[in-house]
C-alpha cells in the first residue's frame, strides 16, 4: 500500500516537475537559509576545533600561535592554572544537573497528575504554572538575586518569622545551590509539566475504569498503568532536561557570580559555561575557550547519542 502510493506520488510529482522544469529554482529557495547555515553552523563545527589548536588572544590577534594540542594538554595536566578551574566548573555543572533534574521531573509529573483531573479551572492553572517559562534567564537570575538577598530578601523575611536563623543564601554552600536550583525550578517546571500533561491526557480513561473495577488503588493504577505508558515521554523529558541543565549560565551569573570564590580562582557555583565565557570573553583567551568548549560539546554529544541509541533500541 504505502509503497504503491509512494511511487504514484513520485510519478505525479515528476510529471509536474517536468512541466515547470527549471532545475535552478529549488536551489534559489534553499539558498538564503543554506548560506547562513554554512557560515554559522557547518563551518564553525570545524573552525571551532581548528581555533582550539592555537594560542589565541583576541586583543592581540597578530600574536596567535599554532600550538597543536597544547591547550588540551593544559586542560588535562593537574599542575596547569586552567586544570583546577575548568574541572571544578565542569564538576559544578554536573552537580547542578544532579540537583536539578530529579525535582524537574518529579514536580512536573505531580503537577501534571493534579491537572489531569476534572477540577474546575485546570486550564487556568496550567497556563499560570507555565508562565515563568516565557521569561528571559536574565530576569529569572535578577529576581533570584533579590529574593535570596540576606538584607531585605523575601525568603529570609519569612524564615525569620518562622523563627529560623536564615543562611546567607548567595554566598555560602550548600545554600547558593539551593537558591539557584529553586529559581530554575520556578522558571522551567511548567515546561516539563505541559509535555507530561499532554501525554497523560492521551491515556485512555477506560484503562483506569477497568482497573478500579478490579479493585486497584489510585497508587497501584499510577504505578502499573500511568508510569509504563508514560515511560517513553518520561525518558524524552529527562534527556532534554539534562541537556538544558547542562547549559546552566545566567542564574549563577546573576545570583552568585559563580561564587563563593575558591583559592584556585574558580567558584563553587561557577558552571562550565561561565568558565568558558570568562576564559574566552573576559580573559580573551579564545583558543583555550575553544578547547574547553570542544571537551564540553564532546561530552554532551556522547551523552545525547548514547541516550538516543538506548531509547531507540528499546522502542
Amino acid at each position: 500500500m504505502a509503497v504503491a502510493t509512494g511511487t504514484a506520488e513520485q510519478v505525479k510529482q515528476r510529471r509536474y516537475q517536468k512541466r515547470t522544469g527549471n532545475q535552478l529554482v529549488p536551489y534559489l529557495f534553499i539558498a538564503p537559509h543554506l548560506i547562513f547555515f554554512l557560515i554559522f553552523v557547518a563551518y564553525p563545527f570545524f573552525y571551532g576545533l581548528y581555533i582550539s589548536f592555537f594560542r589565541f588572544d583576541f586583543l592581540r590577534p597578530e600574536a596567535q600561535q599554532f600550538v597543536l594540542l597544547d591547550n588540551y594538554a593544559k586542560l588535562f595536566s593537574p599542575d596547569s592554572i586552567q586544570f583546577p578551574v575548568f574541572w571544578n566548573a565542569l564538576g559544578n555543572t554536573v552537580k547542578f544537573v544532579l540537583y536539578s533534574v530529579p525535582p524537574l521531573i518529579i514536580i512536573p509529573l505531580l503537577l501534571a497528575v493534579l491537572l489531569n483531573t476534572r477540577v474546575p479551572g485546570r486550564n487556568f492553572f496550567r497556563g499560570l504554572y507555565f508562565s515563568p517559562w516565557v521569561l528571559s534567564a536574565a530576569v529569572v537570575g535578577l529576581l533570584g538575586f533579590w529574593i535570596f538577598q540576606s538584607q531585605g530578601g523575601l525568603v529570609n523575611f519569612y524564615l525569620v518569622r518562622l523563627g529560623i536563623t536564615p543562611p546567607r543564601w548567595l554566598s555560602t554552600l550548600p545554600w547558593a545551590w539551593v537558591a539557584i536550583v529553586a529559581m530554575t525550578l520556578w522558571w522551567t517546571v511548567g515546561f516539563n509539566m505541559i509535555i507530561l500533561l499532554a501525554a497523560l491526557q492521551d491515556i485512555p480513561r477506560q484503562l483506569y475504569e477497568s482497573a478500579s473495577l478490579d479493585g486497584a488503588t489510585n497508587w497501584q493504577q499510577f504505578v502499573s498503568i500511568t508510569l509504563p505508558i508514560l515511560r517513553p515521554v518520561l525518558v524524552f523529558v529527562i534527556i532534554i532536561t539534562i541537556i538544558a541543565s547542562f547549559n546552566l549560565f545566567a542564574q549563577p551569573f546573576f545570583m552568585t557570580n559563580g561564587g563563593p570564590a575558591q583559592a584556585t580562582g574558580g567558584g563553587s557555583t561557577e558552571p562550565v559555561m561561565l568558565r568558558i565565557y570568562r576564559e574566552g570573553f573576559e580573559r580573551n583567551q579564545l583558543g583555550m575557550a575553544a578547547a574547553m568548549s570542544f571537551i564540553v560539546a564532546t561530552i554532551m554529544i556522547i551523552f545525547s547519542y548514547t541516550n538516543f541509541r538506548l531509547f531507540r533500541t528499546r522502542e
Binding site: E9, K12, Q17, T20, Q23, V25, F29, I30, P32, F36, I39, F40, V41, P44, F45, Y47, G48, I51, L111, L114, L115, V119, P120, F125, G127, L128, Y129, P132, L135, S136, A137, V139, L142, L143, F145, W146, I147, Q149, Q151, G152, L154, F157, Y158, M183, W186, A216, N218, Q221, I243, N247, F249, A250, F253, F254, L286, A290, S293, F294, A297, I301
Partner: protein, 286 residues
C-alpha cells in the same frame, strides 16, 4: 482509596468528590501563589521608595507608592533602558520576520520541490539539530569579528537565520498539506515561486504564527549571544542590559526590579493574550 470501595450510597460518593475537588483546588491555588510570588515581589519592590526595601517585615503593598525607581532608570543617560526596549523590539521583530521568510522558503523546497542532493542536504541539517550551542560560541564570535559586525545588529541577526529548527518545523507542516491545490496552480501555469507565495504560504498561516511566536520569544529573551556581540551601551537589548543595570546599581533593588519588570511585562502580556485567544479558539472548536 475512594475508588476501591463500591459506593454505599451515591450521595456520600458525590460529597466525597466535592471535598476532594475543594482540597485539590486549594492545593492548586497555593502552588499558583508560589508561582506568582517572585513576580509580585518584583512589582512590589519596583514601586517602593528606597527606605522601604530593607524593612524587617514584609509589605506586599508598598506603604508609599512611588514611580521614582522607574523614573530614575528612565532618566539615566548611561543606562538608556528605553533604547534597550526599542532595540529589543526592533531586533526581535526583524529576526522573526527574516526567520519566517528564510525558513519557510527553504522548508517548502525540502518538502515539495525536487532537486539533486535534497535528501542529503536535509539529513545534514537534521544532524546538526542536536549539536550543543557551546561549540558555536567561539568560532561564530570570531566569524562575526572578522566580518566587522561586533557592536552591530548584523552580528546578532545573521547567526539567528542559520537555525535548523524552523526549517524542520515548517517542512513538517508543508508535507502535511494536500498536494492537489498546488498541482492545480501549476497546471494553471503558476511558477514554483507563485505556487509557494499564493497557495502554500496562506495555508501555512497557523504554522507561521507558531514559529513566529517561538522565534520572537527566543530573540527577546536571548542573553548570552547579544552579551558577547553588543558592547556599546546604546545598542544593548534588555537581557544584557539587565546585567549592566545590576552592575551599575549595586544594591539599588528598586531600580533593578523596575528594569526586570520592563523586560518581563511585555512578554507576559503577550503570553496572556495568546493564552486567551488559544483557549477561545479551542472552545470554538469544541
Amino acid at each position: 482509596m475512594a475508588t476501591t470501595q463500591p459506593p454505599a450510597h451515591p450521595g456520600g460518593m458525590r460529597r466525597r468528590k466535592l471535598i476532594n475537588n475543594i482540597l485539590l483546588l486549594a492545593l492548586l491555588t497555593f502552588i499558583g501563589l508560589l508561582v506568582l510570588v517572585p513576580l509580585l515581589w518584583m512589582l512590589s519592590t519596583s514601586f517602593k521608595p528606597k527606605s522601604q526595601w530593607f524593612l524587617p517585615e514584609v509589605h506586599w503593598i508598598p506603604k508609599t507608592f512611588t514611580w521614582e525607581n522607574y523614573l530614575s532608570i528612565l532618566n539615566n543617560d548611561t543606562l538608556p533602558i528605553v533604547r534597550w526596549f526599542v532595540n529589543s523590539l526592533l531586533l526581535s521583530g526583524t529576526i522573526t520576520l527574516l526567520v519566517l521568510a528564510v525558513d519557510s522558503l527553504a522548508a517548502y523546497a525540502y518538502a515539495r520541490l525536487e532537486f539533486r542532493g535534497r535528501s542529503a542536504l536535509f539529513a545534514l541539517l537534521l544532524a546538526t539539530l542536536f549539536l550543543p550551542g557551546v561549540m558555536f560560541l567561539v568560532p561564530n564570535f570570531l566569524t562575526i569579528a572578522r566580518f566587522g559586525w561586533l557592536n552591530n545588529y548584523l552580528g546578532v541577526i545573521t547567526p539567528a537565520l542559520a537555525g535548523v529548527f524552523g526549517v524542520f518545523f515548517m517542512r513538517q507542516f508543508f508535507e502535511s498539506l494536500p498536494r492537489e491545490l498546488e498541482e492545480a496552480a501549476q497546471i494553471d501555469g503558476a511558477t514554483q515561486f507563485q505556487t509557494f507565495t499564493q497557495i502554500a504560504l496562506p495555508l501555512a498561516k497557523p504554522a507561521l504564527a507558531t514559529l513566529g511566536i517561538i522565534t520572537f520569544l527566543g530573540a527577546w529573551n536571548d542573553f548570552l549571544w547579544p552579551l558577547l556581540i553588543l558592547k556599546d551601551r546604546q545598542l544593548l537589548t534588555l537581557p544584557p542590559g539587565l546585567r549592566t543595570l545590576q552592575g551599575a546599581y549595586t544594591s539599588e533593588y528598586g531600580q533593578m526590579m523596575a528594569g526586570a519588570a520592563i523586560t518581563a511585562i511585555p512578554i507576559l502580556l503577550l503570553y496572556i493574550l495568546l493564552q486567551r485567544s488559544s483557549s477561545r479558539a479551542s472552545r470554538r472548536r469544541a
